[in-house]
């Protein structure tokens, strides 16, 4: 019944990973440790590929839910790949890892050491 020559196993695995059923299992696997496969170790290459795409679609669905992208992105693989590539190539870190520099009165540059966080002093007696 199966035509081994024409069956694209990896493309089909990607299609499966986008299905709501597997997305629910993936979310639960992350949150409550639900098992995705019968084997917990010694994964095959196609299982790893499937896991990567579960994560890929989970991120894409989050972006749709947040309104970052329209649902049309899920229309085909080309849209999905293009949006994800664009998103990751334009990704900026949330917090700058290099310290900001600002020239002082003498003209020399000094490093600003302002913290990203505000620490409140604990009330006396604590």
């Amino acid at each position: 019944m199966f035509n081994y020559q024409t069956l694209n196993v990896y493309k089909t695995a990607r299609e499966l990973s986008s299905k709501n059923y597997y997305q629910v299992i993936y979310t639960n696997a992350k949150e409550i440790g639900l098992r995705i496969f019968e084997n917990t170790i010694d994964l095959t290459e196609i299982q790893i590929y499937f896991l990567n795409y579960l994560n890929f679609y989970s991120n894409l669905n989050t972006d749709i839910a947040l309104g970052d992208v329209n649902e049309i992105v899920r229309d085909n693989f080309i849209f999905e790949d293009a949006y994800t590539l664009f998103k990751y190539k334009n990704k900026k870190p949330k917090f700058s890892t290099t310290p900001e520099t600002k020239p002082n009165k003498s003209g020399k540059e000094t490093v600003r050491t302002t913290s990203q966080f505000v620490f409140r002093r604990k009330p006396d007696g604590e």
Binding site: F37, T44, I78, A82, Y83
Partner: protein, 216 residues
């Protein structure tokens, strides 16, 4: 839609569902059970000992091919092809150029999607990307055809066949839930003399289960 077209569409849908269910089964575990000519078989991801055996076969096959003056390495075949006017490095360059073009289009399409542009705008990019992918596939098929008989390729084919032979087991006895598994063939020659249907099924499943775990 005509009746023939409707039947064709339904058949396509059934085929798609069967493919989905087959791949679903392949994903479930690192072992896969299947039936050929009424007999139950299974393939399991190769163990360390099996990988060592496969490596030995790789060496033996390579040594055998090296002694055969008719067999050539990829680089030698590329040189011969160049003399006949077939330029493999040029094909590789074309593939690189196409990949760069594709990535540029993907970035533009990604930006259009992020900016939530109209559907017609998006489809213009999609069609361009599809054209590039078709060109990439044509060049890749041509390249694969010309390099099919290299020593490297023959070693890879032999490894996949031997791996299939090594990791396949046949159900001997079934008592309730328990199945006794045994080697289906006396030796490798016995495997190569099996029916084409069995060899096709076994190599297909074995290749998927062992992919990435056997160094070709």
């Amino acid at each position: 839609m005509s009746v023939e077209e409707e039947i064709q569409e339904k058949l396509e849908e059934v085929k798609k569902q069967l493919n989905l269910s087959l791949v679903e089964q392949l994903l479930t575990n690192n072992t896969h059970e299947f039936e050929v000519e009424g007999v139950k078989y299974r393939v399991t991801k190769p163990t360390f000992a099996q990988k060592k055996q496969i490596n030995t076969i790789k060496m033996k096959t390579l040594n055998k091919l090296l002694r055969d003056p008719e067999c050539l390495f990829e680089k030698d075949i590329i040189a011969l092809l160049k003399a006949k006017g077939i330029d493999i490095p040029d094909m590789e360059n074309q593939l690189k150029v196409l990949e760069t073009q594709k990535e540029k289009l993907q970035m533009s399409l990604g930006e259009a999607l992020a900016e939530q542009k109209t559907e017609s705008n998006l489809h213009v990019f999609k069609e361009e990307i599809e054209k590039i992918e078709t060109k990439q596939q044509t060049i890749s098929f041509q390249k694969a055809f010309y390099l099919e008989n290299t020593i490297e390729n023959q070693v890879a084919v032999e490894i996949y066949c031997y791996t299939s032979y090594l990791i396949t087991e046949k159900a001997e006895e079934e008592s309730g839930q328990d199945i006794k598994w045994a080697k289906p063939w006396k030796d490798y020659d016995d495997f190569t003399n099996s029916s084409e249907q069995l060899i096709n099924s076994v190599t297909f499943y074995a290749t998927i289960i062992s992919q990435g775990n056997v160094s070709v």
